[in-house]
Amino acid sequence: MKLDILAALNAEREARRAAIVVTDVESGRQRLVKSADIAKDPLRPQLAEHLRTSKSGMEATAEGKVFLTVYVPAPQLVIIGAVHISQALAPIGKLVGYDVTIVDPRTAFASPERFPDVKVIAQWPDQALPPLNVDRYTAFVALTHDPKIDDPALLHALARDCFYIGALGSRKTHARRVERLKAQGVSDAAIARIAAPIGLDIGAVSPAEIAVAIMAQITERLREEVDAEPAPIKAAS
């Protein structure tokens, strides 16, 4: 690989943009196709399909046998609420390979002492979230229980097509949340995308166990989505 291709690839990854490296496996010849340039590439159908499934693979083309290495952005994990569960979920998410950000306007919770080595933003979701580029490579988790904080955050996540959206709370709490979101014009289909009660049902009790259940559910969603194109569902806003 030419160093300039490698550097350009790393720049795309840094900016959270997908890119595909096309390698002629006979000659070693290579080129980088940025996701924005796929539409005008001669291999457009193959590139688009590989990008959709996020899967690398060999393709027989008019150019010969090529290998397409698909690089999608590292998944990011946005956690609303600098709560006890977040103290476990942040390091677990990091270990699994996510860029982790915690948002909580309550400065007593969102302190660096409670969250060493994690990006913590002590602002309200409407300020903190827009710069984070919440996208389809984002898992979004609302953990405060506080409608003033969680609800606007969830509305933002639903509008951004996150691959996973989860919200903490009992069935009763969630039923009240559903009523509030519906009153804001959110469709049933969008509400159905929110995992609640949050996490896989593994009988988790402690905050750390609940974090494991959440991370497991995020992983399940990330991996099942690969073969199915999700219908884009937008929240009314």
Partner: protein, 107 residues
């Protein structure tokens, strides 16, 4: 520390920019049960230092050895590992799968 895909490619760039000779190995095809998916990367320098993985640790040693050749010659190589491989007794995949690994120099 556990390295992510981001770290591996960044390391390849940084190592090269610091004057080290570097090769990049990529899993390009798998058959049967393979430990790492297609697209997985391993980066190797001229001293045999490496980051990332192309298998569960079964064939990395062999890939590093071949990568040193690729660094030397500058010519890319396609490697195949699996139980059907004649060197299976040495560096085969215990899981029974077969993988092909493309090794290229970063230049």
């Amino acid at each position: 520390m556990l390295s992510t895909d981001n770290d591996i490619l960044k390391a390849a760039e940084d190592w090269r920019k610091n004057g080290r000779a570097v090769a990049l190995a990529t899993v390009v095809e798998t058959w049967g049960s393979a430990p790492r998916p297609v697209g997985s990367n391993l980066v190797i320098d001229q001293d045999g230092n490496f980051l990332g993985s192309v298998s569960g640790g079964c064939v990395e040693g062999a890939v590093v050895t071949e990568a040193l050749d690729v660094i030397e010659s500058g010519k890319p190589k396609m490697l195949e590992f699996g139980v059907a491989d004649e060197t299976a007794w040495k560096v085969g995949l215990s899981c029974g799968g077969t993988i092909r690994v493309f090794v290229e120099k970063v230049e």
